[in-house]
Each structure stands twice: as structure tokens, then as C-alpha cells.
């Protein structure tokens, strides 16, 4: 196919949707807002699907130069879009899951204030996310990178009258800025060393210089990692994601689970040519990812807010993807990104359906017994839980096992430790997901008992299944959560690992261990049994003996409190980072610099002008004779000057 693919249309259509809904949506009837928003997401999806169908006939990588953006000397950055295997997968995830979540939102947000605003923001997010994915250079990617941050901020703070939501939005934005700062520095280093920001040119130069190992490439890679940790909520910048759950649930599903937070993983895979040259940076990613996976999973064990459990689980799963990148198994990372997009979006949307059914209740302690009342949500949620726990043959099993296997066979000395921690995390994941499942759907409803409490706003009554506009995306995503992993069945299990082969032009061939297939099968069996143990403990604690968790919590009260308070990391950051910055801002910057230098300087200039004016105003007395005197004096001076001569004549003689 030689004709242009018009890639630029893919991001621009949602942007048009944003403009229409954002500018005029307030006056539109709801149906029109819905139509505009859905069409603006459907068109890119259809286009991407069309590209996917003709994909084999394309010459890759396909690039599209739309316009020149910046030129300065030899440096130039363009509005250029690129398409390769990696982009295609990301495009399919973003447009596909994005479209499903748009549909879901129609039902979920139906009763909300600012319906039009919500969809305008969602379309804006789609625009920036697609720009990020399609960009052919770092700068355009950065535009998308910043833009999704903005959309995320707007959507987290969607309930703008709620203080906690506004604060969560600010927190997300500020923490992301720290990461963006790293990304910016990485770009500056790239310009300094390569003179260009185009992906293909940078990677070509790297490929032509095999002697470049570590050194400045490590520096660039480390700054990119900082950027990725901000966007993908890894240690040390993960703190914003749990708070981001203040946003509406479809937003949590789309932005904070399926797409935006995976941008960091995408970026690392996209720039893997740089990371491949820096074992230190790779180890850093692997350690960050594994530590985050375990850390977030332990916090997730004790959270009681259904969305927060899912948020920590997202952080944890993103840690897995980072682990995959860190052991240079990029295609495994992308594979997990893909399956995670399905099952985590499904988890959030199902949780949203539960919350919807309960009229806004998010606390799992007052749920329970919902299995019979909302059966479809229950079944879709079950699919998602099985998928994330890595139960054969659901999607998460293949991708997570692939990552653990790659970590195990990694030549990196840390490989075995990473594998073990990853395995442990898989067990924890299984436990907290089944805990959520049992608490929400099984046992007796605890809503009545809590209704006497403070927060009784009518839940427990009128628990109802959601409408089909919400259930349809759930069902589709449930199917995808089951079969989504089948594109990457490893050869050891009789599959063909299609996704690894598909991505190999971008990421390079995957590792194959000497131990071969029996090893892979053994590891899969181990992780399955670990997941089973996790399930069994959850079953024991939350189904067989519901009084057990409380007893356990009181026995190991210290650990329980540590986890419940999320290791006091927020408080630690508050004391170590936020408080000093606030103090410096308040006293040094505001007190000294702002009032001292800026205000003081302004005042000084103002007063000196006033003083000078007071002096000069005496001249303008209104007395005609004094004017005449000055006039005559001036004329006499001029006369004298003409007589003696102007300029140099006067000065040098």
C-alpha cells in the first residue's frame, strides 16, 4: 500500500470532538454530546482497525511528515508520526479500550453534572494519548506526555467542588512534573549528543556506534527512567496514583489503569536502543519495577476502598512491566501491558458498576452478598480477577509468566532474586484480588449494619444491575480478558508466542534459555501454585472464617498499621519534601524575594519616579512669564551654540 495512511487524522479527530464538546457542549442536549464524543473516538478506532487489517502489506516503519515545527540551525523537530508494530499494539489498546470506556461512561455519567465537560476531557485525553503513541520524535512525544498529564489532572479533579478531588488532581500534576523534568533533561542530553530528537535518527546513530556503552547513554536512560516513574507511578513517584481514584471510575479505568500510566513502559520500550547499551539503567528499571510491584501489593492487602485496592494493584502490575523492561524482555512488557489494559480496565469498570449499584459506596466493608443482586457484574469481575491472578488460561497467566520466566533466565545477576520477588508478589496479588472478590460479592450484605452509621445515604436499598450500555463494554472486556493472552502463548505450551514474533522487528528477538521448555513449564506450575495459595488464604480468611482478619490484624498490629497507612510514605514526603519547599517558598521566596526584591523594586522605581516628578513639576508653574523666560533662555543657548558650533567642535576644541 503506497498511499498515505493519514495517521495525523487519528489524534486529530478526538481533538475536534474535544473542541466541539468543549466549546458548545454546554448548550447541547445530552444525546448530541454523546454522539459527538463517541464518533470522535469511533473514527480513530475504525481507522486503526483498518490499518491493522492491511498491516502485512505495509512497509515498516512507516513515517509521515506532516509539517515542520521547529528549526534552529541544524536542529529541527517536526510534526511527524510513525507507525510500527509497537505503535499498532498501543493504538489498538488506546482506541479500542478507549472506545469501550467511552460507551461505558455514557451510562455511568448519565446523572452527573457536567456531562459535556467529562466527554470533552475524555476526547482531549484521547488526542494527547494518540499523539504520544504516534509521535516520531521525543519532542512530539513529550507534547502528548504533558497533554495526558493535563487531561489526567482535569479528570481527577472532575468533581471540582470536592476538596479531596481538587487536591488529588494537583498532587498528580505536581508529581508528574517531577518526572517530566527528567524527561526534559533527557531530551536536552539527546540534543547535545545527537543533535536530533527523531527516534529513527537517534537509534541509527546508536546502532552505528557499538563502542558507545554506558556513559552519557546511561545518563540519558536514567533521566528517561525518572520520567517513566512519574508517569507510570513507580517508586519513588507512585504516590499520585492511589489519590487519583478521586476521579470518576471510567477515568480510573481509562487513564489510570489501561492507557496513560503505561506510557512510561511504552517510552522505555520505544527507546530500548538506548537502554540496551546501559546495563546499569536496565538493572535500575528492574529493581524499581520489582520493588514497586512488591511494595504496592503489600499496601493493597489491607486497603478497604475498592478503587484503592485496584489502584495499588495497578501500581504493582506496572512494576511487573518495568521488571520485564529491566531484563530486556521488552515484548513481554508490552504483552503484559496489553493484557493488563483488558483486565484492569475491566476490574475498574466492574468496580464502577458495583459502586453504581450501591449508589456511590466504595467501602468494601459495607458491601458483601452482591453476587446474586448484580450477576453480570459479578461474572465479568470474576473473569478479571482470574485474569489478574494469573490463572490458566486467562490473559494474565501468559503475560505474567512470560515476565517471570524472562526474569528467571535473565543473564543479570539479580535475575533469580527478581523472579522470586515477582513470584511472591503474584501470590500477594492473588490474595488481595480474591479478598476484594469475596468481600464484595460473597457473604451476607453488611450494608444494613452500616446504614445506621454516619454514611448511610440510602445504600442497601435498590441495589440494581447496571444498564446494558455499561454492561456491554464489561462483557466485551471480559471476553478479551479471557482470550487476550492467547496471542502470546509460549512455545513451551504449544503456542507460537505470536506477540513476541510480531514485535521482534522493534524490540529485537526474545531470549531463549538453554534449559528450554521444561523449565518454563515448571516455573509456570510454580507460579500457578503460588496464585492458588494466595486464593486459598483469601478463601480461608474472608469466606470460611470472616472473623479471622480482625484477629490477625490485632495480633500483628504494627505491620497492619504500617500497611494501612501505606508505610507513611505520604507523610514522609510531606515532611521531607513538601514542608521544606513550603517553608522556603513562604519565607525565602515570598517573604524575601517576592516582597523584598520584586515588590520592593517596583516600589523603589515608583517612588523615584514620583520624586523626580515632584522636582520637575515646579517648572510647569502655569506662569506665562516663567515659560517665556525659559523659552528665551533656550533660544539664547541655541544662539550661543550656533555661534560656537555643535558637536565635536564644541567638545574637542
Amino acid at each position: 500500500m503506497t498511499s498515505s495512511l493519514h495517521l495525523w487524522l487519528i489524534p486529530l479527530v478526538p481533538f475536534a470532538g474535544f473542541l466541539v464538546n468543549g466549546l458548545l457542549g454546554r448548550r447541547f442536549p445530552k444525546a448530541l454530546v454523546t454522539t459527538v464524543a463517541l464518533i470522535a473516538t469511533l473514527i480513530p478506532f475504525v481507522q486503526v482497525a483498518n490499518i491493522a487489517l492491511h498491516f502485512s502489506s505495509l512497509t515498516l516503519p512507516y513515517t509521515e511528515q506532516v509539517a515542520t515545527w521547529i528549526t534552529a540551525g541544524n536542529f529541527h523537530a517536526d510534526f511527524a508520526f510513525a507507525l510500527d508494530q509497537l505503535t499498532l499494539i498501543m493504538l489498538l489498546v488506546v482506541t479500542g479500550v478507549g472506545f469501550l470506556i467511552h460507551i461505558y461512561s455514557v451510562g455511568y455519567m448519565a446523572e452527573e453534572e457536567g456531562y459535556w465537560r467529562f466527554f470533552a476531557y475524555l476526547n482531549l485525553f484521547m488526542f494527547f494519548m494518540l499523539t504520544l503513541v504516534l509521535a516520531e520524535n521525543f519532542l512530539l512525544m513529550f507534547v502528548g506526555w504533558e497533554g495526558v498529564g493535563l487531561a489526567s489532572y482535569l479528570l481527577i479533579g472532575f468533581y471540582l467542588t470536592k476538596d479531596s478531588a481538587a487536591n488529588a488532581g494537583k498532587k498528580a500534576f505536581v508529581v508528574n512534573r517531577i518526572g517530566d523534568f527528567g524527561f526534559l533533561l533527557a531530551m536536552f542530553l539527546l540534543i547535545a549528543h545527537f543533535g536530533t530528537l527523531s527516534f529513527s535518527e537517534v537509534f541509527n546513530q546508536v546502532a552505528q556506534h557499538p563502542e558507545w556503552q554506558g556513559g552519557f547513554l546511561t545518563a540519558i536512560a536514567l533521566f528517561l527512567i525518572l520520567g517513566a516513574t512519574g508517569k507510570s507511578a513507580q517508586i519513588p513517584l507512585y504516590v499520585w496514583l492511589p489519590d487519583a481514584m478521586e476521579g470518576p471510575t471510567p477515568v480510573s479505568a481509562l487513564i489510570h489503569a489501561a492507557t496513560m500510566v503505561t506510557a512510561g513502559v511504552y517510552m522505555v520500550v520505544r527507546t530500548h536502543a538506548i537502554f540496551d547499551r546501559s546495563p546499569f539503567a536496565l538493572s535500575t528499571i528492574a529493581v524499581i519495577g520489582t520493588a514497586t510491584a512488591l511494595f504496592a501489593a503489600t499496601i493493597g492487602l489491607v486497603q478497604t476502598d475498592i478503587k484503592r485496592v485496584l489502584a495499588y494493584s495497578t501500581v504493582s502490575q506496572l512494576g511487573y512491566m518495568f521488571l520485564a523492561c529491566g531484563v530486556a524482555a521488552y515484548s513481554s512488557g508490552i504483552f503484559h501491558l496489553l493484557t493488563h489494559a483488558f483486565f484492569k480496565a475491566l476490574l475498574f469498570l466492574s468496580a464502577g458498576s458495583v459502586i453504581h449499584a450501591l449508589g456511590g459506596e466504595q467501602d468494601m466493608r459495607v458491601m458483601g452478598g452482591l453476587r446474586k443482586k448484580i450477576p453480570i457484574t459479578f461474572w465479568t469481575m470474576t473473569m478479571a480477577v482470574l485474569a489478574i491472578c494469573g490463572v490458566f488460561p486467562f490473559a494474565g497467566f501468559f503475560s505474567k509468566d512470560e515476565i517471570l520466566y524472562q526474569a528467571f533466565i535473565s543473564p543479570n545477576g539479580l535475575g533469580k532474586i527478581l523472579w522470586f520477588v515477582g513470584l511472591l508478589t503474584a501470590g500477594l496479588t492473588s490474595f488481595y484480588m480474591f479478598r476484594l472478590w469475596y468481600l464484595t460479592f460473597f457473604g451476607e450484605s453488611r450494608a444494613q449494619a452500616a446504614a445506621h452509621d454516619d454514611h448511610g445515604h440510602g445504600h442497601g436499598h435498590g441495589v440494581h444491575e447496571s444498564s446494558w450500555v455499561m454492561l456491554t463494554p464489561l462483557v466485551i472486556l471480559a471476553i478479551l480478558s479471557v482470550i487476550g493472552g492467547w496471542v502470546g502463548v509460549p512455545e513451551a505450551m504449544g503456542g507460537h508466542a505470536e506477540i513476541a514474533h510480531f514485535l521482534s522487528p522493534v524490540t529485537g528477538a526474545a531470549h531463549e534459555a538453554a534449559e528450554g521448555r521444561s523449565m518454563e513449564l515448571l516455573l509456570a506450575a510454580v507460579s500457578l501454585s503460588v496464585a492458588a495459595i494466595g486464593w486459598f488464604i483469601a478463601h480461608l480468611m474472608y469466606f470460611m472464617k470472616p472473623e479471622l482478619p480482625a484477629q490477625l490484624a490485632s495480633k500483628v498490629r504494627g505491620i497492619y498499621l504500617l500497611l494501612l497507612n501505606k508505610y507513611w510514605v505520604d507523610q514522609l514526603y510531606g515532611a521531607v519534601v513538601v514542608a521544606p519547599i513550603l517553608l522556603i517558598s513562604r519565607y525565602v521566596l515570598k517573604g524575601l524575594f517576592d516582597t523584598g526584591v520584586i515588590t520592593g523594586g517596583g516600589m523603589a522605581i515608583g517612588y523615584s519616579a514620583q520624586g523626580l516628578g515632584a522636582l520637575v513639576q515646579r517648572v510647569q508653574s502655569g506662569n506665562i512669564r516663567s515659560y517665556a523666560g525659559w523659552l528665551a533662555l533656550g533660544a539664547a543657548a541655541l544662539l550661543l551654540l550656533t555661534y560656537v558650533g555643535f558637536g565635536t567642535h564644541l567638545l574637542f576644541r
Binding site: G622, I624, R625, A628, A632
Partner: protein, 101 residues
């Protein structure tokens, strides 16, 4: 007998100086006004003298321009003076320093 140009110029300078001095010293607006006219005419005299000296007509044309402008100025100036006198009952410039009527 031809009068040398220096004579005209000296006379003109004397007239102009008298005009300037009167302009600075006098307090009555009418007198100040008259001293302005005197300065204008001193300049006119030099124009005419030079026009005669160099046999060029442009100097004389300038004189006509100056006279026309002076006439216009007199009309406006006298109107202002009358307005001032009506509002303030005085023509002493030292008492007219409010920069408004």
C-alpha cells in the same frame, strides 16, 4: 544711495530684542501680545532686506505668510484675551496661572 544690509539687520535685531525684553517684563497680556507682534515684524524686516539684497522674491513671499499667520493669531489671541478678562476681570499674567479659564 544704497543702504547696506547691515543697517537693516542691526535695526531688526534691536527691534527683536525690544520685543523679547518687553515679552519678559510686561505683565499686561495686551502688551505681551504687542511685543510678539514686534518680534514678528523684526523678522519680517530681515526677510525683506535679504530679499532685496539677493534679488529673490521668496523672502517677500515669506513675509506675506508671516503677516497672514500673524493676523490669524491676532484674531485667536484677542478672543482668548477677552475670554480671560470676562472670567477673571484682570489681564495680569501673574494672576492667570491656573492653566485653565
Amino acid at each position: 544711495m544704497v543702504v547696506p544690509i547691515a543697517y537693516y539687520l542691526v535695526l531688526s535685531a534691536i527691534l527683536f530684542s525690544i520685543g523679547v525684553a518687553a515679552f519678559l517684563i510686561k505683565r499686561n497680556i495686551i502688551s505681551i501680545f504687542m511685543s510678539i507682534e514686534l518680534m514678528l515684524n523684526a523678522v519680517n524686516l530681515t526677510f525683506v532686506a535679504f530679499a532685496h539684497q539677493w534679488h529673490q522674491v521668496s523672502g517677500q513671499i515669506f513675509v506675506f505668510f508671516v503677516m497672514v499667520v500673524a493676523a490669524a493669531e491676532a484674531a485667536v489671541g484677542l478672543a482668548i484675551i477677552i475670554a480671560i478678562f470676562r472670567t477673571r476681570n484682570t489681564l495680569d499674567v501673574d494672576h492667570v496661572d491656573l492653566m485653565k479659564l
